[in-house]
Structure formats: structure tokens, C-alpha cells
């Protein structure tokens, strides 16, 4: 199953394990933008979350336990900043079910940048105070998409450790369950600042890790492609053989901790795939080298862009890799990215894609 959020609503795509033919259902929430989606199968659930945003009436998180046949509230805006904080929810950028051993915990990253936590499966939410009241908050600056907390990275081995990424503040890590957060950006460039290597203030676009090796992080920056082998304490450049180290989307292969996918873009001034050739780049050696994957993808006049949550992987073997473009095209690969087919070609601009394997 694919969950696809767009600027005009959300769509479900379903297929069998071959992943050749897909059936579309939607739009759900027509007219509203959906920048975050998630599927939660912990504890026998079949719960879908969608962060919906009306340009007029604000945002909320909607929940369905029957694959979108029905949606339950909350009628109230459940994700809300405390009175007196001076902050109002502008959008939900990430929804992340907690670890398997905390089945009722769900987290979400929002704009203005903050992390919220639910301990009842997503019905009620509280801001994580360590970030809400972070001493750096007055100095965080919004990126082009706003001041958003868009990425949550967990450590399945250590419940107290977690990472988040904020545009534009950089990567922060907690080692005490969210009470305190330290910037971990040593070696990550900020091309748009006089000091190119500040303690924080980087425009990190996406960070991913693999549950089998959670201490190793991969980071797609606003210019820059990095790896950390020590949970962000230090970062090394791994832009080895990519046509551009600017981009947004990044995803790991669930079956191989050394395999990562990215979709480079020409530049910050021209956020289109290089040479208008739609290519996914894959490393199978943790960033030592990258190879283009283009079979089945348009190689001329493809003026496409893929946003930070526009790519996803499923957990089958070989893994399915999927991405959606701002041009409304949805592509999928059922063979680890070796070859691609078009799943849909005229959706609204795609904001996010998530994949889940569901037994039905």
C-alpha cells in the first residue's frame, strides 16, 4: 500500500506483492494539502494518519482504521501549542509511529518547528518541552517551506535517543528521552551563512538511518551529502559521483543497511533533476559510490522535482522503492530500484509518499 499526500488531497494506492498493477483510491480531503502520512501496524492496528492542512481553516491530524473508508476526528485541533507560547500550528510535516516496544506512542514534527508526542495512539498530543523551550529557538530561521521540524530518526536500541531535523536549524539529538537536545552538525556546511560550519543553523533536508545500524546516519543537506557513523557527532562528505549534492528525498533500503537512495536536483536556484533526466541514485556501499537508476524513467524533458518526503521504500524483498514528483507523477520499482514503472501520471503536486506492507 502506498499513501500519497498531495497539495490537493491524499490518495491510497494498493497492489498485490508483485507490485505491478495498482489501484487508486482518492482523493481524501480534496482541496487540503497533505504533507505528512503514516501507517501504524503495531499491536494489530491498521491505522492511517494524515496531516491535513486547509489553507483557510488550519491543520490537524486525521486518523482512519479502515484504510480511508472512514475518518475519525479529532474535530478539535488536537496538535496545538500551549496558550501563551505565541506559537500557532501552521502544518504537520512528519508523523512517526513510535518504537515497537512503545505501541501507543506516536510523534509528529510540525511548523513552527516543534516535536509533539502522543501516548494514546494519536488521539491527544503534547509538545516536547525540551524543543518547545529550546534556547536556540529565537535564532532558528525559516527555510523556503517555513520553519519546520520535518524529520524524526529513532534508535530502536535506545529508547532515550532520538534525532530530529529542522529547516533551518540543523540536526539535533536527545540522549535523555527528549528533555534536552544538542545540535549535532559538526562538518555539515551552511553555504548561505558567512560561517560555513556553525554549531547550528544548517538547512538539513532529510536524515535517515537503518534500524539494524541506527548510529549510522545519512543526511541530504541544502548542498551537501553526508554520513555520520556516530549518531551525528561528526559528519563526512559522501557526494562521490553524484551529479549534484543538492536535493531533498532520501530513503534507506529496509533489507540492506548499506543501501540508500537519493534524487539529486540541479541547484537551489533550479530545483529540477539535472539535465532534465529523471534519475534515482543508489549507493550500495554506504556512500562510497553512487550509481544512477534510470531504467523506465524519462530521460529527456523531465523537469521534475521530488520533495523531502516524496520517496519511500517497502519492506518486501526485493524492496519496492517509490517516489512522487511535484509534477504529479508517481513511480515505483519492485526490484530495489533497478527498473521503474509509472503508477500514476496526473496527480496534484506530490508532497509525500509512504509505503506499507499490509496483509489483507
Amino acid at each position: 500500500m502506498l499513501l500519497v499526500g498531495t497539495t490537493k488531497g491524499a490518495f491510497f494506492f494498493t497492489s498485490d506483492a508483485k507490485r505491478k498493477k495498482w489501484k487508486m483510491d482518492g482523493p481524501h480531503f480534496p482541496g487540503e494539502s497533505v504533507y505528512s502520512v503514516a501507517y501504524d501496524s503495531r499491536g494489530g492496528r491498521t491505522r492511517t494518519f494524515m496531516g491535513t492542512q486547509s489553507s483557510h481553516f488550519g491543520g490537524t491530524i486525521r486518523v482512519s482504521d479502515d484504510f480511508g473508508k472512514s475518518w475519525v476526528g479529532p474535530e478539535r485541533q488536537a496538535v496545538r501549542f500551549p496558550e501563551g507560547s505565541g506559537l500557532s500550528l501552521a502544518g504537520v510535516w512528519q508523523i512517526m509511529p513510535g518504537r515497537p516496544d512503545e505501541p501507543d506512542v506516536v510523534r509528529c514534527g510540525v511548523e513552527p518547528a516543534c516535536l509533539f508526542e502522543s501516548r494514546d495512539g494519536g488521539e491527544s498530543w503534547e509538545p516536547v518541552k525540551g524543543l518547545l523551550e529550546h534556547e536556540h529557538r529565537p535564532r532558528w530561521q525559516p527555510g523556503g517551506g517555513g520553519l519546520c521540524l520535518h524529520t524524526i530518526v529513532m534508535d530502536p536500541k535506545d529508547r532515550k535517543r532520538m534525532g530530529i531535523a529542522i529547516s533551518t536549524a540543523g540536526f539535533y539529538r536527545t540522549d535523555d528521552g527528549g528533555k534536552s537536545w544538542r545540535p549535532r552538525n559538526d562538518g555539515v556546511r551552511a553555504v548561505f551563512l558567512p560561517n560555513k560550519y556553525p554549531e547550528f543553523g544548517q538547512c538539513v533536508h532529510k536524515v535517515v538511518n537503518h534500524p539494524a545500524k541506527p548510529e549510522r546516519l545519512f543526511l541530504q543537506n541544502h548542498w551537501g551529502l553526508y554520513r555520520s557513523d556516530d549518531w551525528g557527532d561528526s559528519w563526512q562528505d559522501i557526494a562521490n559521483g553524484v551529479p549534484s549534492d543538492f536535493g531533498f528525498a532520501m530513503v534507506t533500503n529496509p533489507n540492506d543497511a548499506d543501501t540508500v537512495y537519493i534524487i539529486p536536483l540541479q541547484s537551489d536556484q533550479f530545483r529540477i533533476v539535472p539535465e532534465a533526466k529523471l534519475r534515482v541514485y543508489r549507493t550500495r556501499d554506504a556512500g562510497a559510490s553512487w550509481e544512477p537508476l534510470a531504467s523506465g524513467l524519462p530521460q529527456e524533458n523531465a523537469f521534475e522535482c521530488v520533495l523531502r518526503d516524496g520517496m519511500a521504500a517497502d519492506a518486501l524483498d526485493p524492496a519496492g522503492i517509490y517516489f512522487g514528483t511535484r509534477g504529479g507523477k508517481l513511480y515505483g520499482s519492485a526490484d530495489d530500484g533497478d527498473s521503474w514503472t509509472e503508477i500514476a501520471d496526473a496527480l496534484p503536486p506530490i508532497c509525500c509518499v509512504k509505503a506499507a506492507v499490509v496483509e489483507r
Binding site: T7, G31, S54, S55, H56, F57, G58, G73, E75, R76, Q77, R80, F81, E83, S85, G86, L87, S88, L89
Partner: protein, 93 residues
């Protein structure tokens, strides 16, 4: 007489389908009227006001024919018979 609040159709799912609400409670400002509504229809006011109690950027609230942005905002005076109209702004994409 009371104050009336006209609700756009997009928000009637949060008013049990009612398009015009009547506020019988004593109120002297637009904010009072919306606060009175919030006690029985909080989901409606969530969509008109942010959690900090400000009118959402792309929602307009009129008293008579004038937007309260050009009056005194939520402090704009109302009296018996005043008609408050909630309108989505001309925006979107």
C-alpha cells in the same frame, strides 16, 4: 434580540449543519460572541481562530459589511441585532 453569526458552508460540518448561529448570551464584542460559540461548538472556533486566539490569516470576519481587520479586530463592538459573517478569504491555489 441576539447576535447572529453566519457560517460558511465549508464549516457547517462543525455546526451540525446550521448556517446561521444565534448567540443569546450577553456579549459586547466579536470576541465575546465567538467565545460564547466556542463553549458549544469548539471545533468551529478552532477553524476560525488559532490556538493563540487570533483570527486565522485566511479567514475574514465581518461585522455588517466591514471586516473586523479594519475595525477593532476581536474587540470590535457588537450589539443586539448585529450580524457577524465568517468568510474564507479569497486565497488558495
Amino acid at each position: 434580540m441576539a447576535v447572529s453569526v453566519i457560517v460558511p458552508r465549508a464549516l457547517t460540518p462543525y455546526t451540525r449543519g446550521v448556517g446561521t448561529l444565534v448567540v443569546d448570551e450577553p456579549c459586547s464584542t466579536v470576541g465575546d460572541a465567538l467565545a460564547a460559540i466556542a463553549t458549544r461548538l469548539p471545533a468551529l472556533t478552532d477553524r476560525v481562530l488559532t490556538e493563540q486566539g487570533e483570527i486565522r490569516r485566511h479567514v475574514n470576519v465581518f461585522v455588517g459589511d466591514e471586516s473586523v481587520r479594519f475595525l477593532d479586530g476581536l474587540e470590535t463592538k457588537v450589539e443586539s441585532g448585529t450580524v457577524i459573517t465568517i468568510v474564507p478569504a479569497v486565497s488558495g491555489g
